[in-house]
Symmetry: C2
Subunit: 440 residues, 2 copies
């Protein structure tokens, strides 16, 4: 098949499967109208054909079906169990505050002030939890999502993988200055061939890989097919596993200069971890992070057809377990009296990366930020840092305010630029409200 | 597409996907040679191509890959969480006996006597647990299966569904004498149209549905494609969900006369349950059976592309949780001081069904047995009864010996006739050994 025909087939396939189509919808339904309970997805036996959500036609990644599917990924795709801790789970004491819905802030760019409650609705939240000094002060679930629902984290997964890789570096199992190809020779001829582990962790690799979710011809769409997240079109000639895909990524430019967000980096790290440890990132995230920190419910990791976890975005956890990970980071790697992640790793992440390299990526909503070891660092006066996933997934750690926020969402736009102008000021306003000690 | 072309396409597809091929292998590897660890399935990053197990090519149901896949189904197919009990799980006290491997018996048909240990090996066991008076006296795992591994139960699932339906009948939610089509009008024109719930539960429906696992043209192969357990061939014109498949099953003969084992009956019951309760059998098995009995680990239920659970064979549980279900039955529905299943239901099942109707099915290894509410009843002097799954899955309840046996297996032959001549005498010998109180 010629290159042109491959592209045509791919465009047709992705258009059919609609992977990145959500972001292109001109007038997506508003949060209330798109409520997944109101829309009646997957109800009835069988559900009416027009109310089904399935990966077979790619509808599972198409808004507004996403408002249901993000809480039901394993029912549509193969997944691996990510074991929680043996019971009992770590305690997550609750001291709910009814006044926090009234926290007020001004969105980026000015305009009318909003309340926290309005912000949740406006950003298509599926669940929101706020911890202050380790106690749950706010916890809400929306639509089809409950406290027991593993929800897809998308790229928040990367921060688990980044933290895990830092642990393996601290163990001396991985050398951050080594070339990736030292561990995975299959990548020697690819764009990753002369990139270091550190560059890959910090996403300063220079690759010919487009992450544009709105472009069906982007490489991220090919990766989605390779990973099994979206169905391959008939006779699709491209790679059918993540590890078949990665060697096809070419180099473009010089490594180590500028930050460019590319999911392929995290998948490559997943391969390194698997090769070095003989285990996979799903098992290691369980053993090194979730189980020691006392997660209360098994997670689900989406896997490709060779069994490889989708390291860049395949983890599904409950919101409380995601919040526990934030609390682990806020406590400098300690929880339940155990040092689970070395303190110096948390300090290194919180200190952030190269702001100049980051600025080159021109994120309008993230001025002065940086990226370090698969985390997003604000460099604000609170030292806040985040794990961020497409469609609004977030884990926000504010050390100064002693606050952790975890959010699930199914925003119609495949990019945080759509919710950051509301979310980021809201998170800071919540931090200020909690730090002030005042009640409304 | 003409009927002939459909058949040709289907044969080609099933040959490709190899669903029932296992049983046709002339010389399957012996248990030691087919050990999944020794064979190295899915090891390495990525696994060598010839060592992969995936549903995409149907290899997941092909022996000897089955020795790995039966313990990893959710990693290849969509599944739904079947919640266990909130911790702590019910206690399963352990009093292991080292002497039981030496229990000796003579296989059906005579020949040399065997030991229990030899029997386990000869029947390709993946796990085996024996409870005596509620205590674990024997527990072994083989190959890639561990105490924490949900293993596919195949048709042992049916006995969970049958027990659940009996509970719903006892609740007055389902009338066992009603026609199936009263609950599911979509089945009115099918072979199920004038069958009663009772006939369907006891599999005395008269349907034109072949369960022959060794025939790629059999209806069970079409059901497997509809359920998503095996991939549909390109342009496959047949039903793509279980509920699309069931109305295509014609009648053949008179209902209520003879027992004929057909998985379609259980899938139809699953549809009735979903229609009547507005819930699905996976959730109800959790709520009515697994959670109240104190199951220790979430199960996985395979689902079709409309989200419908595979009621005839899609449940995956750990061996200890399967054993708990046997213990629940042995204790006449009571566990942990609670009456979870009404005693009269257990009594009705244990009393068995119509032996004459059963004899018509001519099971060589099950003389004098009957079938009741999705359970197999031996009518032996111990009153033993079983849940039975293809490839050797078993839950054996021996009330007189106060014994429960749960077994996982990946026997190369898709039919219990291949292991019954060893398994059934072995189970009885174990019962006798335990009941005698003597130690070896």
């Amino acid at each position: 098949m010629s290159r042109k025909r491959i592209v045509v087939a791919l465009v047709a396939a992705v258009a059919m499967t609609a992977f990145p189509i959500a972001a292109r919808a001109a007038e997506p339904l508003d949060p209330a109208a798109s409520d997944p309970v109101a829309m009646g997805w997957m109800r009835g036996a069988p559900p009416p054909v027009d109310k089904r959500v399935t990966a077979q036609d790619g509808g599972h990644l198409q808004f507004p079906r996403t408002r249901w599917s993000f809480s039901h990924m394993r029912e549509m795709l193969p997944s691996r169990r990510v074991p929680a801790a043996p019971p009992p789970a770590s305690r997550l004491p609750t001291a709910l505050r009814a006044d926090l819905d009234a926290v007020t802030f001004t969105p980026m760019g000015g305009g009318a002030s909003m309340t926290w409650a309005q912000a949740m609705q406006a950003t298509y939240a599926d669940g929101m939890i706020v911890l202050h000094r380790g106690r749950v002060v706010y916890e809400r679930y929306y639509g089809v999502t409950t406290a027991r629902t593993p929800h897809i984290l998308f790229s928040v997964t990367k921060s688990f993988v980044g933290t895990l890789v830092e642990c393996l570096i601290a163990d001396g199992v991985i050398d951050e200055n080594a070339l990736l190809s030292r561990y995975v020779p299959e990548l020697a001829m690819s764009g990753f061939g002369d990139a270091t582990i550190r560059q890959t962790l910090d996403m300063t690799t220079a690759l010919d890989f487009s992450e544009a979710y709105t472009d069906p011809r982007a490489d991220i769409a090919r990766l989605a097919i390779a990973s099994g997240a979206v169905p391959a079109p008939p006779n699709y000639p491209g790679p059918r596993t993540i590890d078949d895909f990665l060697p096809t990524v070419p180099k473009k430019g010089e490594h180590g200069r500028v930050f460019t967000y590319r999911s392929a980096n995290t998948e490559a790290l997943g391969w390194v971890v698997a090769r070095v440890t003989g285990r996979n990132v799903a098992d290691l995230i369980s053993e090194r992070l979730l189980a020691p920190m006392g997660a209360e419910q098994d997670g689900d990791m989406l896997v490709d057809s060779s069994g490889a976890p989708m390291a860049a975005g395949g983890l599904n956890l409950t919101l409380r377990d995601l919040a526990r990970f934030g609390e682990l980071m806020r406590n400098k790697g300690r929880m339940g009296g155990k040092q689970i992640v070395p303190e110096r790793i948390v300090d290194k992440i919180a200190a952030g990366g190269d702001k100049t390299a980051f600025a080159a990526a021109s994120y309008a909503t993230l001025p002065g930020w940086s990226y370090k070891s698969q985390w997003w660092i604000s460099h604000d006066s609170h030292g806040a840092y985040m794990a961020r996933g497409v469609h609004g997934q977030a884990l926000y750690v504010d050390p100064k305010a002693e606050m952790v926020i975890a959010r699930f969402a199914s925003h119609p736009v495949a990019g945080n630029v759509a919710n950051d102008p509301i979310s980021l000021p809201a998170y800071r306003a919540m931090a200020d409200a909690l730090a002030s000690g005042k009640r409304r």
